[in-house]
């Protein structure tokens, strides 16, 4: 084959030469080329290797339906596999190479698999590779997994980069009255109609040029019409987006678009994203998505040098390339005549074979005028040649099926088997297109949504009719005209003749239906033979239509062959279902900027920087970063937290607790509301007092715990755990708005408004006394246990002080407005230092609370009852509250449920892990007797301790030997279970 660039013509910019590399060699093309057109201009034919049989493949089309010229572009971390050369815009420095081949696509060792193709038919892998051949002896998956390694290596197409993608991607959002998809004759006219009606229009085009089929015309008048329309649209403020694919239609007129920022633009501005993912909400959507030409199944119809007829027209008219010198055009419809004539006029020797017995004189004239020889009742039977086309053997229709005919020499075989409207986007809406036997294609049906189709996407074949179809469909969509039914599908002079496969008798040949997945017509028949007759079974069994083109070219042929095998019409076989995206979309674009460190919001407390400046190491707590420990000198985490906990018990410690959820509960019914929400009594909580409370879910299991402070008659401040803050807030709003609208209560999240610290230890009161103004008394009378008061820190900082303790020490929580957080820390820390105090983090907080047997998220895991957690006395029996009924379900009341316990190691020098199971020494199996939720080294007790759950609670196991069983980490450790209140069980320290 001898493709060459013609001296003139086409829509390329011949003044801008572009250098690119294909498989390591340097080539040149022009601005306005695709990679495929540039390769063709350089007479490069063998571009790819097929998925299964590694057959040589060339350029088959001029668009997104391409199944042959699939390549890898870029290198290193910018390597992109599975790029269709036919839709890749050429740019300076483009690197492209063949894929799925070794050592290269021209000489591919993988082609040996083709020798075994008689065995590698559809679904053969379901029938073997299970055990030892030949009779599949054996058990289990071992043998299969050896085969699988080889199969995986052979499968796949391109190779992805292993390096992080260095480019960035963006998300964008838009609204419009009308979204027009496709900028061909119908799309441009549709946009024009809408723009003239004053609508806000977005026009998107997947190609880098606007114009669609206008660009493929030889008629200069049409080229200039395109320019005029674009100018008017721009004038009218239509948002015209080229390089933008509408890849999916979703609910409520939402469309997903992928915009490819051009490499030229990116080179000029490195801050541009590589691609943008647009979410567009359109009032109405018009799909002018065009139609794709089908091939026909015949022997070796996949050879490099076999192309769709329309593609040759595109290469000629848009890219100024004569794709071959000696050409045979095979068709079953009128559309290929113009292409044949244009190629002949451009200097090629062209013969046209038409499967139809005859066509009108007018049609014959089109060919004859250009010097194209024609034959009728004739179709391609087999391509001769292995890596190129040497010729084509024809078949003649003798009335009773095909008979072998002449061999015609040629180097390029163009095929037109009819056209398939691109109904993909409509299909995303769950609408099934209908088979139209007259046009031999699936045509869109009306949608109940504001979506219409126009032009060849609606089966309108003539350019002028497409223009009218676009205007009419838009007028109807916008309600400017009654109906657009005046433009009907069709438009050819002579009816198309169905032609899906050409073969003689039962001959077994390699004739491809789905070229990309190497699905042959025999595969379709085998699927039928084995009972895979529905379209869904057919595609899953043979992989028809599952390749990267989603069967754009092959599906109809496959269904036609199945219909034939079943003796039914195509309409009875089923329809095609296309799923988004229309063409593959990079995962990078869909993800946009919210990746890596920006994957989720990061929440920091108002004292975050202060903590860091004072030696904090941070840890993740949900979305929050919290101080984990404040190491001194070269302390390890273990040394640091033990020291911190010790200091809090002996002197004073300060801990940032700002991440706790805080909710203002206000209104005349606030106390009634809280009394229903918490399991314990809240109705009589006095002003100036705080209370620890437990909330249950509707089903009676524990939801969250925290404290609630009564600041005044109608004003409460609730705290929640860090992890449940948002959930509790939503829950309270739900209760107030949905269930108890009669309650006069308002809730506001004030987590971010307050900075809060816990100050714990025997010196806590003295220390705080030094930090507050004289008017703010914190002595035992003014601020007794569970007391709350407003006051002022030194310097006049307003604060709330509550005497509550999570650590079991004499402790206070101090809240100030968030902005005063660092100032409060300065003040407190200055007072703590002379007392030998410390800053403590989450790890020491954990140690202190475990010693006391206070529960937190690890214990309240959504599966425990209030009794399980040892808090049964907080379940009021005197009132009804959320969960009070369902918590009494029989299984939840059983005495032998796992109950909260403390855990000591038998050997006080040994340690054990949270997550270990608790087993009896002679019964290390099954679910055990319980599990361990939290472990710490107790500075008070001088050994490791833990919390956990054991069936029946610690009383049931007193004095018995148990094991902490942890096979995934450290094995068995002898333990005993004790009361969860391991330090100061009477609470004397905090009351002190």
């Amino acid at each position: 084959m001898s493709a060459r660039r013609l001296p003139g013509g086409g829509q390329i910019d011949r003044s801008r030469l572009l250098n690119f590399k294909w498989d390591g060699k340097q080539y040149q093309g022009y601005a306005g080329d695709t990679l495929a057109s540039a390769l063709l201009a350089n007479n490069q034919q063998l571009i790819g290797r097929s998925f299964k049989y590694h057959r040589p493949r060339g350029i088959m089309s001029a668009g997104v339906e391409e199944s042959g010229a699939i390549v890898t572009t870029g290198e290193g971390d910018r390597r992109e596999p599975n790029v269709k050369a036919t839709s890749q815009e050429l740019y300076e420095g483009l690197l492209a190479s063949g894929q799925n081949a070794w050592p290269n696509v021209r000489r591919d060792m993988g082609a040996v698999s083709g020798w075994f193709s008689r065995f590698f038919v559809a679904g053969f892998y379901y029938k073997t590779f299970m055990g030892l051949p030949p009779f599949e002896w054996g058990k289990g998956t071992g043998i299969w997994m050896q085969y699988e390694k080889l199969i995986r290596k052979a499968a796949g197409m391109g190779q992805a980069s292993r390096e992080p993608d260095p480019d960035h991607y963006d998300h964008a959002h838009a609204f419009c009255d009308v979204l027009v998809v496709g900028s061909g004759p119908s799309g441009l006219h549709a946009a024009l109609t809408a723009a003239r009606a004053g609508r806000d229009v977005m026009l998107v085009e997947q190609d880098f040029e606007i114009g669609g089929d206008y660009l493929n015309q030889s008629d200069a008048a049409l080229i200039s019409r395109r320019a005029e329309i674009i100018a008017e649209l721009e004038q009218a403020g239509v948002r015209i987006m080229n390089r933008t694919t509408a890849f999916g239609l979703y609910d409520y007129g939402t469309a997903g678009l992928l915009e490819r920022v051009s490499d030229v633009a990116m080179a000029a501005n490195p801050h541009l994203p590589r691609q943008r993912f647009w979410t567009v909400r359109a009032g109405a959507t018009l799909l002018a998505t065009g139609a794709l030409e089908r091939s026909v199944a015949f022997a070796n119809n996949d050879r490099p040098g076999v192309m769709t007829a329309a593609a040759a027209g595109v290469y000629l008219n848009r890219y100024g390339i004569l794709p071959g010198q000696q050409i045979v055009v095979a068709t079953n419809n009128d559309s290929a005549y113009t292409v044949a004539a244009e190629l002949a006029s451009a200097g090629a020797s062209v013969e046209l074979v038409d499967a139809r017995a005859a066509v009108s004189a007018q049609q014959r004239e089109v060919a004859a005028l250009a010097g194209v020889q024609t034959r009728y009742g004739c179709a391609p039977l087999a391509v001769q040649g292995s890596k190129t086309v040497q010729g084509v053997t024809l078949a003649n229709n003798g009335g009773a099926g095909w008979q072998a005919g002449d061999l015609m020499q040629c180097e390029l075989l163009l095929v037109s088997g009819g056209w398939s409207p691109v109904v993909n986007l409509l299909s995303h809406r769950g609408i099934k297109p209908q088979w139209d036997p007259a046009q031999t294609c699936f045509l869109p049906v009306e949608s109940a949504e504001n979506i219409a189709m126009a032009g060849s996407a609606a089966g309108v074949w003539n350019l002028a009719a497409c223009e009218q179809s676009g205007s009419a469909a838009m007028a109807s969509l916008l309600g400017l005209a009654a109906s657009h039914r005046s433009i009907v599908a069709g438009g050819w002079d002579n009816p198309i003749e169905p032609l899906y496969e050409v073969r003689i008798g039962e001959q077994r040949v390699k004739s491809f239906v789905d070229q990309q997945h190497d699905v042959t017509s025999d595969d379709i028949r085998l699927a039928h033979q084995e009972g895979f007759v529905s379209v869904e079974h057919l595609k899953r069994y043979t992989t028809l239509g599952m390749a990267t083109d989603q069967g754009k070219m092959g599906n109809v042929i496959g269904m036609a062959l199945m219909a034939d095998a079943l003796g039914r019409d195509i309409s009875q076989v089923g329809t095609t279902t296309f799923r988004p995206p229309y063409t593959p979309v990079s995962i990078g674009a869909l993800a946009g900027p919210n990746t890596g460190a920006h994957f989720r919001a990061l929440r920091r407390t108002p004292m975050h920087n202060w903590n860091l400046a004072n030696g904090a190491t941070m840890t993740e707590a949900g979305l929050w970063q919290r101080s984990w420990y404040h190491a001194r000198d070269a302390e390890t985490i273990s040394q640091a937290y033990v020291r911190e906990a010790e200091t809090a018990r002996s002197s004073v410690g300060i801990c940032d607790v700002s991440s706790l959820g805080k909710i203002a509960v206000q209104g005349p019914d606030a106390s009634e509301f809280l009394n229903r929400v918490y399991s314990n009594a809240f109705a009589k909580l006095p002003v100036g007092k705080a209370r620890y409370g437990i909330m249950l879910r509707d089903d009676g299991l524990v939801m969250d715990d925290g404290t609630c402070w009564r600041l005044s008659e109608n004003d409460f401040l609730m705290t929640t755990t860090t992890s449940n803050a948002a959930k509790v807030m939503v829950w309270l709003e739900e209760l107030l708005q949905l269930r108890w609208p009669d309650l006069k209560v308002h809730v506001s999240s004030v987590t971010d408004q307050w900075a809060s610290v816990s100050v714990a230890g025997p010196q806590a009161r003295a220390m705080i006394a030094a930090c507050v103004e004289a008017s703010t008394a914190v002595d035992n009378n003014s601020l007794p246990f569970m007391g709350v008061r407003a006051g002022k820190l030194n310097g006049g900082i307003d604060c709330l002080i509550a005497r509550i303790s999570f650590s079991g020490e004499m402790a206070f929580e101090i809240f100030v407005a968030a902005g005063f957080g660092p100032a409060m820390m300065e003040l407190l820390w200055a007072a703590a230092k002379p007392l030998g105090g410390c800053l403590y983090g989450l790890e020491a907080l954990g140690a202190l609370r475990i010693e006391k047997g206070h529960v937190t998220g690890a214990e309240l895991d959504g599966r425990v009852t209030i009794d399980d957690a040892g808090l049964g006395k907080m379940a009021s029996t005197k009132k009804s509250y959320i969960g009070s009924v369902l918590r009494q379900r029989p299984e939840l009341m059983r005495e032998d449920r796992p109950r909260l316990v403390g855990i000591f190691p038998k050997d006080k020098a040994s340690t054990f892990n949270a997550g270990a199971l608790i087993c009896q020494p002679d019964k290390v199996a099954g679910f055990g007797e319980g599990w361990i939720t939290a472990v710490t080294h107790s500075p008070v007790l001088g050994h490791w301790i833990g919390l956990g759950y054991v069936a029946g609670g610690h009383e049931s196991w007193a004095g018995r030997d148990l094991l902490a069983t942890d096979p995934v980490r450290r094995g068995n450790v002898e333990i005993e279970v004790v009361s969860p209140h391991m330090v100061d069980p009477k609470g004397e320290r905090m009351h002190g």
């Binding site: 596999p81 892998y125 379901y126 299970m130 051949p133 009779f135 599949e136 058990k139 998956t141 997994m145 699988e148 995986r152 290596k153 499968a155 796949g156 197409m157 992805a160 980069s161 992080p164 993608d165 480019d167 979703y250 939402t254 769950g430 085998l526 033979q529 895979f532 899953r540 990267t548 989603q550 988004p580 995206p581 990079s586 990078g588 869909l590 993800a591 946009g592 919210n594 890596g596 460190a597 994957f599 989720r600 993740e620 979305l623 879910r697 509707d698 089903d699 009676g700 599966r863 379900r889 939840l892 892990n913 270990a916 199971l917 679910f927 055990g928 599990w931 069983t965 995934v968 980490r969």
Partner: protein
């Protein structure tokens, strides 16, 4: 019926593939069956297979409104694992995994179960402890499970995001080596072929339009292919359970139908050799690579109740964000297709294999995210229930009354909200 083997593949290769016959018959409905199973998905087909195989109940029909395996059987992300912890679930999924391990041989159909290991990433010491409890339970209950430290994880799966820009740095992983992926369609076809060989009638394009009762008994089902009388009836219809339930004149169920999306990329040469799961910061993401080379992945349900088998963009975006955050090399890998299936989400995230208020009606439902991996055991225990009219001890708490009794088989501790059990 030609046995599937390398020998027969070879022989048929030489003889033009003439020796293969239909993998299952396309019979006309009979007037009466001893058991009618509704739904020819994985669960229904497996049930029919085990009814015939384990219990010699062969006069069985599986009734399907569309094509067998056309629902969630072909819409899932093909992950098989047994890392369940709650009593009942633990034994059930372990049994299922054991059935999976020999399923290709059992069915003489290569279901391509690849025990490539299921790797759940861990990001905090608390998460490690939480995983330890689960994987310790697995180890003590006849299964496998291990924790990997960062070193081992990096060595085994080098392309994950271990970099400084990770929002939630990975510190290790919980791993079940016997877990992996399988070829979903093959499982449906394998069970269909197996059931058919045992004489089960698979009735496709046979939609149930009514359930005829005689007091507390189902006597027949009305279908688009006529009335079929039945000795016993089993429902195994995934997302459509509630509809069939009301056809039988029964009330509400502890189930909501939600849709879950799934995603596949273009085929790539081998990139990821394990199943990787990522769940932190409210995210939920799982990914593996199919034997064909596509990256198969998914995330959360679409949050709102839906019977529509199509998804929406916010979850597409969420899932892509998670994908890029843990596998940043996927930026230039392209999404090929996304689709969705309708799931029965139950009130505690666990399933139902149980008797019903009607004497001869049995229910198999509420599979949440677990349906694919469960299918062999689901069929096994459902067949056992139907044949013996009493639940096997392993599923005795998987009944509709468990909530009333106070049993929540809640793996996540999420409480009685179906959408939270993903």
């Amino acid at each position: 019926m030609t046995r599937f083997s390398a020998w027969n593949v070879f022989r048929n290769g030489l003889t033009g593939q003439k020796g293969w016959s239909r993998q299952w018959r396309d019979p006309e409905p009979k007037k009466h069956y001893d058991v009618v199973v509704i739904g020819a998905g994985l669960h229904g087909l497996a049930t029919a297979y085990y009814l015939a195989k384990n219990h010699s109940v062969r006069n069985v029909a599986v009734v399907e409104k569309g094509w067998l395996g056309g629902g969630n059987a072909g819409r899932n992300t093909t992950i098989v694992r047994s890392n369940y912890m709650m009593p009942g679930n633990r034994e059930f999924y372990e049994h299922s995994l054991k059935l999976w391990e020999n399923l290709s041989h059992e069915l003489n159909y290569n279901v391509m179960f690849s025990q490539r290991a299921h790797v759940s990433l861990l990001h905090s010491p608390a998460a490690v402890d939480d995983a330890a409890r689960r994987y310790n339970t697995m180890r003590l209950t006849d299964s496998d499970g291990e924790l990997w430290d960062l070193e081992k994880l990096k060595h085994t799966i080098p392309y994950l995001n271990y970099g400084p820009n990770s929002r939630f740095p990975i510190i290790g992983a919980a791993v079940q080596r016997r877990a992996g992926t399988a070829r979903h369609d093959a499982v449906a076809w394998g069970y269909a072929r197996g059931a058919d060989q045992h004489g089960v009638d698979i009735l496709q394009n046979c939609e149930v339009t009514g359930v005829t009762r005689d007091n507390d008994k189902v006597v027949a089902i009305e279908t688009t292919r006529g009335t079929i009388s039945a000795g016993k009836v089993g429902f195994a219809v995934a997302g459509n359970t509630s509809r069939l339930w009301s056809m039988a004149g029964l009330g509400n169920l502890p189930i909501e139908s939600h849709k879950l999306q799934a995603f596949v990329s273009e085929p790539l040469k081998p990139l990821l050799d394990h199943v990787v799961v990522f769940g932190v910061g409210g995210a939920h993401f799982y990914i593996s690579q199919s034997d064909k080379g596509g990256m198969v992945f998914g995330g959360d349900i679409d949050w709102y109740k839906s019977y529509a088998q199509r998804g929406n963009l916010p979850i597409v975006q969420d899932v892509a964000e998670a994908a890029m955050s843990i596998l940043p090399c996927l930026g230039r890998v392209k999404l090929l297709r996304h689709w969705s299936g309708v799931m029965d989400m139950s009130m505690d995230g666990s399933h139902f294999i149980c008797k019903t208020p009607l004497n001869n009606l049995y229910l198999n439902a509420g599979w949440n995210y677990g349906g694919f991996k469960a299918s062999p055991a689901s069929g096994w225990y459902f067949a056992d229930l139907i044949a013996n009219d009493r639940p096997h001890p392993v599923v005795e708490n998987h009944d509709l009354q468990r909530f009333e009794r106070g049993i929540n088989i809640d793996e996540r501790g999420a409480g009685p909200d179906p959408k939270l059990h993903g």
